[in-house]
Symmetry: C2
Amino acid sequence: MSISNNAKAILREFTREVWSEGDIEASDKYIAPKYTIHHDPGDPWEGKELELAGYEERVKTLRAAFPDQHFEIQGLFADGDAVLMIWFCSATQKGDIPGFPATGKQIEMSGATVYYFAGSRLTGHWQITDRLGVYRQLR
Amino acid sequence: MSISNNAKAILREFTREVWSEGDIEASDKYIAPKYTIHHDPGDPWEGKELELAGYEERVKTLRAAFPDQHFEIQGLFADGDAVLMIWFCSATQKGDIPGFPATGKQIEMSGATVYYFAGSRLTGHWQITDRLGVYRQLR
């Protein structure tokens, strides 16, 4: 298996285990000692360098608001040490987020994320998500 | 030059000529006979299959609202027949857009676009842009 295909397989597992199934402790298998959120407009962690505990806290906070969140990967593209993932996420808002106390509404979100690898570990991401679409669904 | 590097170079030229410099007729050099907007939430052309005239109309409409729009390419990643571009755009709102009559405000937008190629021609895109960020700047 090429390095690129291996990175894609790792990203599939990571997305399923950590983000869709909520096995937060599995982050340990994927996250590098420093994880940098290079760009993620609207995300409270944008610009931060996280250690494992900080990354786990981010997953925990986002999954507390949307506990049943499920990711469908639409495409994976690898080039050098980067893998781009385009995705859809469906979720029910069970907890509060800024501007929206828990609505109980089911939403769909889409996004595009560039993940950066060092070996088999993720060192950070550059991401855009369709936040306006989510806000319109929660309104 | 590899196919991937060639596709990246084409995308740089296309973005500069057509979108930043507004040479709409140059679209003819880049756009395939059918151009499909697979995903672009919030974009009025989302889901459409455009011929060259339709594509040019889209550029014209978007540039009429933001005539000085300028794109900075943050990264290009190629895999198979796809090239991902992550980008920043700065622009002044000189024309009306839905919900916002011309404000005269200067805005910054970021986005991630997967462009699909057939040979040296673009056949479509899958895109997410930070529309919520733009709305917040125009409000």
